[in-house]
């Protein structure tokens, strides 16, 4: 399925993959590498994944969104080394109406962040590295 990829994410073909004459609304979320995190300067990062499970979990999330909103949805999540400004994740959702397109798009990105085994190590401006822990249960620097 290549939902997880180590190559740059291209938005245009992803949008094209969900478009059709029946679907008037397309919602997109694009997550990009920021140059800051919790007040620290970020110069780049690396994503690693438990790839077979990440692929399977992403596919399950897309199936849930299709079933719940009748939307066409697509997803790419990049892994490997990324620079500031690079696209890390892209979600597209197309539906007859905008409400369901927005809802499906939002669902997919929230579930990806919550359920998909992908980890991010940030590279800071001061030369240090840290795995990002959104739950902050394991403090590491």
């Amino acid at each position: 399925m290549d939902l997880i990829t180590d190559r740059p994410i291209e938005l245009a073909p992803l949008v094209a993959s969900v478009q059709s004459p029946e679907r008037g609304g397309v919602a997109v979320f694009l997550g990009q590498v920021r140059n800051h995190h919790e007040g620290r300067g970020v110069v780049g990062l690396e994503y690693s994944a438990y790839e077979p499970m990440a692929e399977a979990e992403c596919a399950r999330i897309l199936a849930e969104a299709r079933s719940r909103w009748g939307a066409a949805v697509a997803l790419r999540h990049r892994i490997g080394a990324l620079s500031v400004g690079d696209a890390a994740v892209a979600v597209v959702a197309a539906s007859a109406h905008r409400e369901s397109a927005f809802a499906a798009c939002r669902y997919v990105i929230e579930e990806v962040k919550r359920r998909v085994p992908i980890w991010k190590r940030e590279h800071y401006a001061d030369g240090s590295l840290a795995w990002v822990d959104p739950t902050a249960t394991l403090q590491r620097t």
Binding site: G31, P117, W131, R140
Partner: protein, 88 residues
């Protein structure tokens, strides 16, 4: 020779990200007494050098699906110990 229930199970353990850093390995095989569970894997990992940096109840997967600590192990299982996810 009589057939007997195997007295041990061997499982493949995968560690990722900060957990792999903590233990200094990203894959290992563990041989455990029959009747062991996913929770037994975590206890063993926590007894290894650096294992105290794992939480008591980390998120785990068994053969690519989320697993509970009480799930019984079957020989050949792939048990993945998952740090807090940070995708997106």
């Amino acid at each position: 020779m009589t057939t007997a229930a195997p007295s041990v199970v061997t499982v493949h353990v995968l560690l990722f990200a900060s957990y792999a850093d903590a233990l200094g390995v990203d894959t290992l095989d563990l041989t455990l007494p029959a009747g062991s569970t996913v929770g037994t894997v975590i206890e063993r990992l926590r007894a290894l050098p650096g294992g105290d940096r794992l939480p008591l109840k980390p998120l785990c997967a068994r053969n690519l699906a989320h697993a509970a600590a009480g799930d019984a192990l079957v020989a050949g299982d792939q048990i993945a110990v998952l740090p807090p996810m940070a995708g997106g």
